[in-house]
Symmetry: C2
Subunit: 455 residues, 2 copies
């Protein structure tokens, strides 16, 4: 009985897949703050030209540079594993597969885009990268990737995560990066938040404002900003996950999966696994594609599809996306990587065009699912990933009730070995579900900027 | 340029290699405390029959059960990676390869033996396993493996590590195990130590005494003990590492390596990588095989080859091994997994028979090497593994000085993501080298039992 499909390194994908080439209805463009269509060169203070080109590209396949492959090949292709023990535990007729991205040096899928972003920056002469991080997975990954190319790296880390996970900053420091809790007094955006709320737990939106400001204030042009999710080029780089998974499912003798599940915050993990399969769905395959978000930060399931800023201070272009409003302050749940007000424009477009079935789950169910998974399959997943695990268990139980043999593929985006405080609180009974009232949601949605067309 | 060799899962080894079949001079047998040769059945209160058979076996190849392969295949074969960035950094003509065992769910090589040990115990009707752990890698691995087979697991963890690494116990708890700091008041052995030294930092030898006592006190026979190193059957299970590495080196077009480096505490990581190559050396290949131990716990480089107990309280059989004396209290250096007074009998025999070139290194050099490795190759290694990295850097620098193209293979036994406190102290300048004086060593060697023949 085959339990895993390890692709030889010679089977590493050589091109990324760009969903923008195939999405049925045209994408809305990003806008400048005055409502005009953003010109690509307006991004040049933040990103190198190649990434800006990829951001706007509608080319279906884009070559992965050899220098990037050389680094990714240290741990890629990642394993695709059949979760036989979980299937037995749930007594389900479903066949469950997980794509294990936790084997990367940073412990998650994030290096898949951190490495090419650092590479293209290095080529363009960048000396220093700034970024934000929620749970720490992205900040760790960019620190790792920056070290590979000799770039300096400064990470603004959401304070609630920074305080809960003291070892994340040691990890980044080991890779030579610096890590600053956000909001910080180092930026105008940070100081403004701290004046209003000195004990602010921070948010990804605030941290993005700080990192963007820190990049822009270096007038030499040698400092660039890097984003770990949301943007089209980030989704593009992550598609290596789904491309590998397709080949590996074939080694198990499976055709297309019936159901694909992945957690979703800014969108990169979900996009990476699902976009190559969304293409199959557009081409006629019957695949149920389920992004899962926290009930306390439900941008697709309860947000609006509208133009909004990517950050809290309103320094980024306006993006067409599902959003809770850029001033939304997510509750300090443990899945720091999913605490983001918006959703990647490409993921949002796929949802809006009816290609996805978004779900939201509360964190007690997620931790319970994660413990079941750890004891059956052995991997202690990140709190973000636990949302996918919880949804998979729901699907597998339903398959049992319906006596239906189905194939479920899910994205194991990262391990939780730097997130064990959350597990400790769960075992101590100190984890609560966090709800979001209609009033809170409406107050935040009222912050939506009054520019751009209605979508 | 090839950077990694990923074997397809169909190439997973199906048999373990047993060095006992090939070691040139016969092995000395274990002895009972009275000096008589130990009869295998005297171990039956601790281990299931299959493991006892493997312990005494001189059969060269031993089949790996399908049920064990099913679990190992979730992450095996592990990657063999060429350390191109480290080579560039050191400007060395050496070609450096590392076998990356950090991708297992527990983050180290330890599950390679934890899984078969749990499996054979399950087959034999065992309900509960007890064990000890130093840094926590073995305790985590046995917790993981026990969960796979529905066994209870109790781990006695050396207190100095327990206090430094609070998340290790959360990790074990997530897998359903319990973790007790050692010395503990739960056992006679622990109480005796605590009476003499209430703030004892503990040692692997003490924790072994406690775990053995906890297994023996259950008269139902449903509780067994599991050891993560030292014994022949543990070495056997780890040889899957070296067997894979041999096939992977061939994929790179390399013949045998010139130099093999691995850190060594009880011996399992070193044995796992090197034993299949020691066979080649016995058959005539010219391979320099280097086990590396901490300068503060130098059992092969400064200990005696003699019969000694495996634990501090003298509850285990007497084993023929390099030892610092079973009452040796290693300094609380960060490589908790290497803080053991003895050395596996098979590794000791290989050293005594001139097949190895043992080295010891102090911890400041090890942390410095680990940071160089993290910034060049991207993996934050465990403090144990840093000893191998430091030796590899020495060898690579020597190759540069000698202008010699050589092939160095080393064992990356685990990641250090649960050991970041050590890195934090290193960055803060709070890491010191710990020496071992002749007087301390002689006092400890005076504890050697006066039974058995001189070796």
């Amino acid at each position: 009985m085959r339990v895993s499909a390890t692709l030889p390194d010679s089977e590493l994908p050589r091109q990324w897949y760009n969903l923008a080439a195939d999405i049925p209805h045209a994408l809305f463009p990003p806008l400048a703050p005055d409502g005009s269509v953003l010109r690509p060169e307006q991004l040049s203070a933040l990103f190198p030209e190649t990434l800006i080109e990829q951001e706007a590209s509608s080319q279906r396949w884009i070559d992965i540079p050899e220098e990037v492959l050389e680094i990714l090949a240290r741990w890629r292709p990642t394993p695709l594993v059949r979760a036989r023990n979980l299937e037995r535990l749930l007594n389900t007729p479903a066949r469950i597969y997980y794509k294990n991205e936790s084997v990367s040096p940073a412990g998650s899928h994030k290096p898949n885009t951190a490495v090419p972003q650092a590479y293209y920056n290095k080529l363009a002469g960048t000396k220093r990268l700034t970024t934000e991080t929620g749970a720490g997975q992205w900040g760790s990954a960019l620190s790792f990737a920056s070290a590979q190319f000799g770039l300096e790296c400064q990470v603004f880390m959401v304070r609630s995560s920074y305080d809960k996970k003291p070892y994340r900053k040691v990890m980044m420091q080991t890779w030579g990066a610096s890590c600053v809790p956000s909001p910080s007094p180092r930026t105008r955006a940070g100081r403004k938040i701290l004046e209003a709320q000195p004990d602010s737990p921070g948010s990804l939106g605030i941290a993005i404002s700080e990192a963007v400001e820190a990049a822009l204030e270096d007038s030499s042009g040698k400092t660039h900003y890097a984003l770990g999710s949301v943007l089209n080029h980030v989704m593009l780089h992550q598609t290596i996950i789904g491309l590998e998974a397709k080949r590996q499912l074939a080694l198990f003798g499976e055709r297309a999966p019936d159901t694909i599940v992945a957690c979703v915050g800014g969108g990169s993990n979900f996009a990476g696994l699902s976009f190559p399969f969304i293409k199959e769905k557009i081409d006629g395959a019957d695949i149920d594609i389920v992004p899962v978000e926290p009930a306390s930060c439900p941008s697709i399931t309860r947000g609006l599809y509208a133009y909004d800023f990517g950050d809290t201070a309103g320094m980024t272009p306006l993006l067409p996306m599902y959003t809770l409003g850029h001033t939304f302050m997510p509750s300090p749940n443990h899945a720091g990587g999913l605490r983001y007000h918006g959703m990647a424009p490409l993921v949002s477009a796929a949802a809006k065009q009816g290609l996805l079935r978004p779900q939201s789950i509360s964190q007690v169910e997620c931790f319970s699912a994660a413990v079941q998974f750890a004891r059956s399959e052995g991997i202690i997943v990140a709190p973000e990933t636990s949302h996918a695990v919880a949804q998979v268990i729901r699907e597998a139980v339903r398959a049992r009730e319906e006596k239906r043999e189905k194939v479920i593929l899910f994205g194991l985006s990262g391990h939780g070995l730097l997130d064990l405080q959350g597990y400790a609180e769960y075992f101590a009974g100190d984890i609560a579900n966090m709800s979001l009232s209609e009033d809170e949601l409406n107050a935040s949605l009222a912050s939506l900027p009054k520019v751009g067309p209605a979508l």
